[in-house]
Symmetry: D3
Subunit: 200 residues, 6 copies
């Protein structure tokens, strides 16, 4: 294959995924948040890091798990993001997106990875999905921390029956344990022993 | 090692890197841009994808290159981002950051990866740095496309001697060729054959 | 029907459409704009005013035309907005949305109006759609005015064949003439004779 | 009248009201909110929809009530918005604004409608004003829901004597009943039976 | 005077002026800019620094000139900001504001300073006003630099007769010379000799 | 010295400090706030006003105290802002910044003032620093008021031992008393007797 052709396709792809930072995640609509920093790009970033830990703990392929996480919402460039209300009324032709977006790249690997993720059969695919859900729990804790009452309901439920609804969707043991821990630790605990008022 | 302890450290780490989406990249100060979508998190996301292609083209370890890209600016959580004016007046104790931030994790691999990146000796480390610079060129093209005159100067120079200053810093052949191609393709070319006014 | 039940449904409806101001119009993704003020709510507002003038000029029912404009994007609360790339990959079940969203209100009129709009048969429906497109031209002129190069391409085309592509989609004579006029008048002309440096 | 002249005036008017999305509502100053989505345009949009329901319930002219709501804050393009502190120190020459802004349009109807609204004598004018106040209550509930303590005070008062201060300003029976209902229903109740985790 | 009473009044005053950062400068409406960083607070900051240089060059009282600049837009907390369209339709009772806002402080000096500024008789008052206008020219140059066409018109006029309209309003020789220099120097020249790609 | 050279240096300086409004204060990272209005410029503005009151109460040089406050964070243009985590890992060469930024101005006074501030020996320098801390307390109260739980912890501590930690850092009697008063007065008390629902 001609190298120049390769690069033209790749550059267009890189511009395309650059727009992931302009796509706000749509739970903002129902959470009534003003957070403009939660884009598909910034979300996918933390999901990738979360998935690395899950893959490490479960002893599966680190590379594949991380790559699936980086790719898992990329199709939203061509479909937009949809929250849990939108899912009721919208059908997304994900296979077509994956074929047109990743299947036209000079290398077949990224298409293979998203196909594996969509099937949700391999351990890596399951963990990449768990990482996606874990990021949601982290974000809800952060929104709860900044005062959002709706985030609090999502985390703790309106009644007792909905408590831990977030955790119930997790599949892997590692994700379940990590999720429970997220409920216990506050979003600002990480710098408790780091801060100093003194200049260096 | 006690699994519970592992998870507490990991959760704190995940909250910590969640703040990367609150850290704006500081070239915004000198580019006078109002873009709030370019955070350390969203930047690192595209750098990871760019580095995958560079590693593929150069035939080196995909996993290591991508992981280094995901980690390459993570230390800025603890130092803040610094642009090319700030570098003149600020010394960042990166080794301490890497040790405290990644070296305290239950797994040593992330610390090893950032150490390899900082040395800039392995092919993977060089490509991860090239990917960082490629993202900058993409972003400048996007800012130029939305009218920013300063971005245009950065891309094309004030005089002839500064033309292609962005490309000169790239080390690998693959990055150089990719960089040249980015100058030729417009940020909106990617959807030229995709758009349709017809509903499905 | 019990009045209390009416009001409960209406209040839920009003909270629902309040989220239209949190839904950014998705051409922002391809226009690379940082404008956060162009929401489904603020867009629908100007469309309603435009449609009043079109209906006036064409001598059709003012009330129906304005109401259709206020309703024309309301379904996006439940589907999210989709730009011309997204249309290729997403199917929206608009009829279900209209039925669930407007068809459950205590009064049938709003559902009837959106049904008429969706058929695009009545003069009023055609004009409400024209008003939607006119708002797009106004916005592109405003983005072009603030420096956006992509907006300029959308307005004036890359080559000669695409010139006036925006105008070609308009159906009514009144909209065509209004559209041509928008190309001639600058976004800041309106206050030319209004400004004064003197305090009252 | 020459049609060309008509359109030039109308286009300037449409550019003018386009700036309503750049005008933030000024209660933000005293509510200390970061919500950038509450502009004069997005506010006027929901007021129009609220007023339709009030007019329907009271059995008055739907068209006139909705149009008055669309126009009710349009003059703020030329005066800026003023909150309840500003009212103490600023005199707005609304009649001059209405004359210059709406009275110069090729059709007299919009000027007639705002004149009727300003007099607050007709049932439609009273309901359009009630709709304006109802939108304020909805917004306060939304801000309270996202954690804002000042919004809570505005809704429920500092002491018992100020409870329901928001409701006391409403004139019509329909608005009073609707307002009471808004206090009972939470901003996120509308999608309780809509959400689904399943893709279509 | 009771010290406690002093402090209560002062604290309320400090909260009040804290809202200056929530008040956007209203030329944004006609410049169609998305810059959220230009508030009454950030504007007043640079005006104070500009006025120091003008006072230094003209050899007048530095303290009085700087203080007048810090106070010059403070009344807008109670009136909102008004651009050159708004001035035509709004009367602000500035004397009442100054009396209620500054005249009720435990110290009379701030009220005396704003009175002197409003009279525009002393050299210091003239220079503080010139500094206000100089900041406007700087900002227009910055907006022009980020692509805004309207800013360019304000700086250079639509025709030859409007060229240097910005400079014509300046009163002092020092401001006129400074203003001319601003037209010659680009917003990014300041860091030309500062930047370095090397870490310290 | 040639006047033209003076002005060129001054204009570059004014463009430089204009970027202070693009520099967000970095406690936002750990406070998880979405407030974009708290920039180095808007912060420095209120600090200057606070310091005027402290200087007045302590009977020291008003001019010097206010000027130090205006200058106290100006160096952050060249170093970026650093929060209490960053301080642990970053060394800022403030003396070099002060020399290059203020020491190159045509007038030596500003450099002398920042030198005096950095030594923290004079009463004026101590008060300017106290004013900086007082602004932080005011801001935390404002964030607490808009629902932020982290701000509440900073103000009132996690346990009893941390209560009033904010006050403990204040040096002067006037600042201590003012700080205590800030804890007692709510951010919206200032307009309690100002608001009116009646148009003028």
């Amino acid at each position: 294959m001609d190298n120049q052709v390769n690069n033209e396709r790749i550059v267009n792809f890189l511009y395309e995924i650059g727009t992931m930072r302009k796509l706000m995640r749509m739970h903002r609509q129902v959470l009534l948040t003003d957070d403009m920093s939660d884009s598909i790009a910034s979300h996918s970033y933390r999901v990738a890091m979360i998935s690395w830990f899950l893959a490490k703990q479960e002893g599966v392929d680190l590379y594949k798990t991380v790559m699936m996480s980086l790719l898992h919402d990329m199709g939203e460039v061509r479909s937009n993001d949809h929250n849990w209300v939108h899912k009721k009324y919208v059908k997304i032709f994900e296979e077509e997106i994956d074929k047109d977006q990743l299947g036209t790249l000079p290398y077949p690997e990224l298409k293979d990875l998203i196909d594996e993720y969509q099937k949700r059969e391999s351990k890596e695919a399951v963990l990449a999905k768990d990482a996606d859900l874990i990021d949601q729990i982290l974000l809800l804790r952060e929104y709860d921390w900044s005062g959002n009452k709706e985030a609090s309901i999502w985390l703790y439920g309106k009644g007792k029956d909905k408590v831990n609804a977030q955790l119930a969707r997790l599949q892997s043991d590692s994700a379940k344990k990590l999720g429970e821990e997220i409920y216990k630790i506050n979003p600002s605990d990480w710098w408790n022993n780091l801060w100093t008022p003194n200049n260096r």
